[in-house]
Symmetry: D2
Subunit: 144 residues, 4 copies
């Protein structure tokens, strides 16, 4: 009997292995073919000098949202590594949480191109654009 | 009596306010006009799914190295915000520490352009290129 | 009597001053607040070594599409300069034409963030994704 | 009898096939393993709306400088395609010429990472930084 992993299971298994993301408290919201949503609740582990979400936290969340979107379209037995990304920061807010939606733009054989949008959601549910990212990934054999 | 902050003091004071960087354990190695070096020792707070330094940690360190290099050339009473950056990942290694050297390329009135190089240094002192970043920052009034 | 320029007029007047774009044959398709579409017909002035549209032509078209989208939201008497952009190439095709759609993502006081999508349209009207770009611009006083 | 191409010959042969670059007047200055220098003399084919070198010309020159640097390290029978690049514009000047120096940072099996610096040189030989670029390329089989 063989079992086929769903995109959600595939991403969840990899995320659980990421010490940094577990430590910061990243949550997987949804994962389907070519699309992954993640969330990260505000805490003092995530702040910059003015008390807002640190660009490092925003960048890391965008990176793995785009990366996991790419993972959902990578061939079985492969995972992906980030070749590079570029991120524009639009607003930095505090409290609430940030959410990143990663999407695959092109799934090539050699490289996968993804984008991610990060929004901030405050305690009242108000959504503000936070960052946009454009990213290149490469499929590599999974070694674990 | 007035006291003028050295670049090192200026960067150290801002870094101490960054919850995320304090939490991850970032250390300020040196800071002079237009140039800042930072280090981050390997720990399980910083890993990706294969046990290497997480791209999120590498990206965050590069971001603040370039950003703090920019801070050292910003007018007094101003600080800087990251407008955007682009990072290429060259190698991901584990153990030891990563170091980022940020440098100002152009200090304009409206925007400052910085670069950062991140290297990995293992327990035996062997240095490996880890990532390169190109970044745009904007000077903004300091509000704290 | 004062006349207010439409976004289309504002962009068309600037485009006519661009020696390079006039020379390559760029056409303005549409311009409204925050959004500009441009086209460029295939010719041997635009090719790379394999006969496809040159990345330089695709990049230039994306750059001005995003830049002119930014111009439509810049205050009167100002124009914009490109601070930086990042472009991913998805496919390179020949014949037909390429079209770029530039859109403003955030119109800040200091910087404007735009994106552009470039598509190829062949002789039969078939559309293929060609490139995506993310860009930062700065408003500057118009000097002519 | 087999003849081995020098890096200069390899780049020169590809450059001669690029309709756009021939048309704009790009000249190959030097090419060695991992490093290529190109030049482009000012003309009204290359201007933006204020009479300076167009970002499209600067971007195209940077792109092929980094790309040809990558070509010099690609295996025989392969050429390279640009996956993506990111460019920061530092100054826009008119007259004289611009020169781009492309360098390979990492020659991987899947992707090659290059950088390029573009400078402006005026009629009196004065050199001004013009742009910096960071780029990802992929080796692909040569089909002509």
């Amino acid at each position: 009997m063989t079992t086929v992993q769903t995109p959600f299971e595939r991403v969840a298994l990899s995320l659980a292995r990421q010490g940094m993301m577990t430590h910061l408290g990243v949550r997987l919201l949804s994962a389907s073919e070519g699309q992954v949503a993640l969330a990260l609740t505000y805490s003092d582990k995530l702040t910059q000098q003015q008390g807002g979400f640190h660009g490092g936290a925003i960048g890391a969340l965008a990176d793995i949202a785009g990366g996991y979107a790419a993972l959902t379209v990578a061939p079985e037995g492969m995972e992906v590594v980030t070749v590079e990304y570029k991120i524009n920061f639009l607003n930095s807010l505090q409290g609430g949480e940030i959410r990143a939606m990663g999407k695959v733009l092109k799934a090539g054989r050699r490289v996968i191109v993804s984008t991610a949008e990060v929004v901030h959601i405050d305690e009242n549910g108000k959504t503000t654009a936070c960052a946009v990212m454009q990213q290149t990934l490469a499929p590599v054999p999974k070694t674990y």
